[in-house]
């Protein structure tokens, strides 16, 4: 048939239809004029038209239903591989579960098939994810995965532990256990969920029908069909948002049911509803902001053993249950661990965390401001990392000594290839990065031997190494190399050596950035020395002037004097622009430093246009996707952060992240800075899980690059710990904070600013764990001025005092609490303090003044 023939057929068909039914065939035969093939085809069409009963007329609905009838499909078959299928156990959105027996071992298993698997790659992926999830879960209270595979037609399946039991609620109804026994059972379920959370798996469909209880009372958690790996950000969000979500509304947290957002707290909610049911036999009023107290409902439903509990005990259970089922995740237990802790508190007769503190003081409200102090700390680290990038960048236009440079470069190359790299076997197994770092360390003493007669070359080599160590935040090594280079320059060029003075300024900048105890004082005296030397030099190089202002600027930044920093950086920019020795890129980098001063001043509104200007200019000179532009956009991200445009900051960070990784690799400082900034923004939005993910990612890379005891590694570990405590992962948070604290006090000393910041985090975690004595002791030992310097926030003292006051009040030491409130008062009563801060202080004062119970 071709188009022409088809036109012919249709014409004849329509003409025939205009005639009475009985005369149509005759008409067609006649009109076809001997073309019997045409006549037959049209008559067939007419016949079909008259019958009107083909598939097309019956419609799709019946067909569709039959085609997707999956259990019918599987019921037609009974054996595959070693398994013999017995009966349907259940059917869910994703597949059908059958009871089966292995014929070789007689083991009874439950096998889940993905119905109609061939039809959608998305569904197959989903099913494969469920298998992967189950494979990672080995827990006595979770039904285990045994085997997986696919049938010849591609239908995937997996075999899991068959649980012969009844639903949790049914079990409780049948056995009428005491409240205490029921809580023990519930505790086991929480235990299983917490175990899954420890593997970063969120169940998302916890309900009594997914918890079967065996005869001996062992619960088994089932069905991870819609479970989610929380750090898996690659998963397209429409998979969970727009896609059908099969879950039970009664047990689903509002943020999940309504917005498709799920975190660990989503499972907390479902557990809370289950607990409500476990205690009362009834579900909480769905969607109500204030469901009836379990104690009241339990009386109405004559819940077994309800009358045996005292009023105080019921009070505790009410608080516990209602806290777990809060509609807002922020009001809920932040983790299953936190929920478990309170269940245990109850079982042991201890005071609950959920019970409003007897003093009426609300710890949770405190959290938001604490995070801010640390936010600025991590922002400092971020700035430091980027400053290093700038300071080790080569400046343009050193034309005057091109020839000598060339000779030095040749010698350096020789050293590098023969001595440094030549001695290392690049194919040696093990951690290549670490080997290289060690190699560099060993190379240093050989420089002086090799270049005994060429001190200038040796000096350059030491200078290069100094920069490398500086970049790794290995300050003791860097300091040594700077000093040695300076010594050699002075030896070769005399006491007025410009190179020596330059190195001294570079070292000063490093000291100012290192935040070690006494380092700021060292930095200042180095600058004073350099100034004296420069005064003796007849014609100082432009580079020297630029570095002098820059070093002063960095010191000012470290002293939390952003205004002074801005003035110095502006002077550096003027000097750099005065002659042609600095190219535009170098000048833009100084402009960035001015922007940093604004950021440190919290003046994001002024920093933002400056950053945008730098970005535009760099985009012109080196292309919009160049690393310099990307780096400048990191600063932009920070200007957004300090303007509290958190969502924008996250968006900008997400936008540049892929190109940044592409250009610089995943482990570059700039990438870490970006993640650190994003973590801060996420933390500020109380998106703790995201913040933890980023903090830990940065931490792991920092450890790999700089070792665990570097400033940056410790800082990020501390940030992660704080977020973990905010998120309710107290024991993880405490462990990390403690590790950071020990590393910091060993590496930098107890009085160092960094140690103070970490101690604050640890104290915060301990206060969450009710270990108030330890917390108080830690806080007492913080060197507030060093910590304020490091955090770049003069108000740190007030933060510390406030936490001290809160801890004291909770310990019942109201006299000390009043003392600390008074300490915090000058800062927080000042007009410049935020309303939230003032409120915190007021709460503390009210607590102190309140009559005691």
């Amino acid at each position: 048939m071709d188009s022409l023939r088809w036109e012919q057929m249709q014409r004849l068909f329509h003409q025939a239809l205009e005639r009475p039914e009985t005369k149509r065939n005759a008409f067609v035969a006649d009109a076809a004029a001997g073309d019997s093939e045409l006549a037959t085809a049209v008559m067939r069409m007419l016949e079909a038209d008259g019958r009107n009963s083909s598939l097309l007329d019956r419609g799709l609905d019946e067909v569709a239903r039959q085609v997707v009838e999956s259990s019918l499909d599987l019921a037609a078959f009974r054996e595959f591989g070693p398994y013999r299928i017995q009966k349907v156990l259940g059917e869910g959105g994703m597949g059908v579960v059958w009871l089966a027996q292995r014929q070789d071992t007689a083991q009874v298993v439950a096998i889940k098939f993905l119905a109609n698997a061939g039809m959608s790659p998305a569904r197959r992926e989903h099913f494969a994810r469920e298998i992967k999830t189950l494979a990672r879960l080995k827990h006595p209270f979770i039904a285990r995965l045994y085997d997986a595979g696919s049938l010849a037609d591609g239908t995937p399946w997996f075999a899991m532990e068959y649980v012969e039991g009844v639903r949790l609620t049914e079990y409780l109804r049948e056995h009428r256990r005491s409240i205490r026994d029921r809580l023990q059972l519930f505790r086991s379920v929480c235990d299983a969920v917490q175990y899954a959370h420890g593997r970063e798996i969120i169940h998302r469909d916890l309900k009594p029908s997914n918890v079967l209880v065996e005869k001996d009372g062992t619960p088994k958690l089932l069905d991870f069909g819609i479970a989610k790996q929380w750090q898996n950000t690659d998963e397209p969000s429409d998979q969970t948002r727009a896609g059908p979500r099969f879950f039970s509304r009664d047990y689903a947290a509002p943020e999940w049911a309504d917005d498709g957002e799920a975190g660990f707290y989503t499972d907390v909610y479902s557990l809370g509803v289950m607990l409500y049911e476990v205690l009362t036999g009834a579900l909480p009023d769905h969607g109500s902001d204030a469901p009836e107290k379990p104690s009241v409902v339990a009386r109405k439903t004559h819940s077994a053993g309800a009358e045996k509990l005292s009023k105080a005990e019921w009070n505790d259970l009410d608080a516990l249950c209602l806290k777990a089922t809060q509609r807002s995740p922020a009001e809920r237990y932040r983790s299953v661990e936190a929920l478990l802790r309170d269940v245990d508190h109850f079982l042991k007769g201890e005071q609950l965390d959920a019970q409003p503190d007897t003093l009426g003081y609300r710890l949770r409200k405190f959290a938001a401001r604490n995070r801010r102090a640390v936010v600025s700390a991590s922002a400092v680290f971020t700035l430091v990392a980027l400053l290093v990038v700038f300071f080790t960048a080569r400046l343009a236009g050193e034309r005057d000594r091109a020839n000598r440079e060339r000779a030095i470069a040749t010698a350096m190359n020789r050293f590098l290839s023969d001595d440094l790299l030549g001695r290392a076997d690049p194919f040696r197994s093990g951690n290549a990065g670490e080997t290289f770092a060690q190699m560099v360390k060993q190379a240093s003493p050989r420089i002086d031997l090799q270049f005994k007669t060429e001190p200038l070359i040796a000096a350059r080599l030491h200078q290069t190494l100094a920069g490398a160590f500086d970049k790794r935040s290995d300050f003791p090594q860097a300091r040594q190399e700077y000093e040695q280079a300076e010594r050699l320059f002075r030896q070769a060029e005399g006491p007025s050596s410009q190179d020596a003075a330059l190195l001294r300024l570079q070292r000063a900048a490093m000291e100012a950035r290192s935040f070690e105890g006494g380092s700021l004082a060292r930095a200042k005296s180095l600058v004073t020395d350099a100034e004296r030397t420069i005064a003796r030099i007849a014609k100082p190089k432009t580079e020297l002037a630029v570095w002098l202002y820059t070093a002063r600027g960095v010191i000012a930044l470290s002293e939390t004097d952003p205004r002074g920093a801005e003035q110095n950086f502006s002077a550096a920019l003027r000097a750099a622009s005065a002659d042609g020795s600095f190219d535009e890129t170098a000048r833009e980098k100084i402009t960035q430093l001015i922007a940093v001063s604004y950021i440190k001043r919290g003046d994001g509104a002024r920093a933002e246009p400056l950053c945008r200007e730098v970005i535009a200019s760099l985009a012109r000179t080196s292309g919009p996707g160049s690393p310099d532009v990307l780096r400048a956009r990191i600063y932009l991200t920070q200007t957004l952060l300090v303007q509290r445009k958190f969502a924008d900051a996250i968006e900008e960070a997400n936008a540049i992240y892929p190109s940044l990784v592409k250009h610089l690799g995943e482990e570059h400082e700039a990438v870490l800075s970006l993640l650190g900034t994003r973590a801060a923004a996420e933390g500020s939005l109380t998106r703790w899980d995201d913040a933890i993910r980023d903090d830990l990612a940065v931490y792991r890379i920092a450890v790999k690059k700089q070792g665990p005891a570097s400033l940056y590694s410790i800082g990020m570990l501390s940030d992660a710990a704080l977020s973990q405590c905010e998120a309710g992962h107290y024991s993880e948070g405490e462990a990390n904070a403690r590790q950071a604290f020990q590393l910091s006090s060993n590496a930098f000393g107890l009085r160092a600013g960094l140690t103070g910041g970490v101690a604050y985090t640890l104290a915060f975690c301990l206060s969450k764990l009710n270990r108030l004595g330890e917390a108080a002791e830690l806080l007492q030992n913080i060197d507030v001025s060093a910590t304020a310097q490091q955090a770049g926030d003069p108000n740190v003292g007030a933060d510390v005092a406030l936490l001290q006051g809160e801890v004291a009040a909770r310990r019942g030491d109201f006299e000390s609490a009043r003392h600390f409130a008074d300490l915090a008062a000058p800062t927080l009563d000042a007009p410049s303090a935020s309303a939230a801060d003032k409120k915190e202080l007021q709460t503390l004062r009210d607590t102190i003044a309140a009559p005691r119970r």
């Binding site: 569709a64 239903r65 119905a115």
Partner: protein, 192 residues
Amino acid sequence: MSAWGNRQKDGPAELSEDRHTIDSLFSLTYEELRRFASRARRDGAVTLSSSGLVHEAWLRLKDSPRFASVSVPHFKAVAAKAMRRILIDEARRRNARKRGGGEAFVPLDGAAQQMISCQDELLDLDAALDELERVSPRQARMIEIRFFSGLDVSETAEVLGVSESAMERDWRAAKAWLAGRIRPHTAQPGTE
């Protein structure tokens, strides 16, 4: 004929019919289909309607940015393609199995003859539609849209940019021809 061709290019072309779009629609349509099927089996009362399914899919997807600028009928036209693929793929797979394609499955009984007839008819229709497409892509598309996504006459006319009366005419002829190409398979085991 050529006017129609243009229309298809210039008209509702915002929604690409790429693999990804089809697949996401497809997954969704499929889940709906199964949900309805199992509810129908359980309750017996719910009637499964393909237009209902497609509409449901639309409700779920309409807020996503990718579909923001797409009209409902046009969405349904794309969904029709997904639906066709779902059903044909499945019918083909079952057919392969029925012919003993592989797994050591032992049939319990001669279940679901009616279903088998259904799926054979579906495969015939698919082949015939392909054939029709070669001589009249417009009519093939029209059948696809009306049959597989349950669009009514006026909606189909809107998507295709033709008048309703012209469409009715085309529909009747194409349907009659296709029906003639579908072999009767009614519950006759062994006949082929």
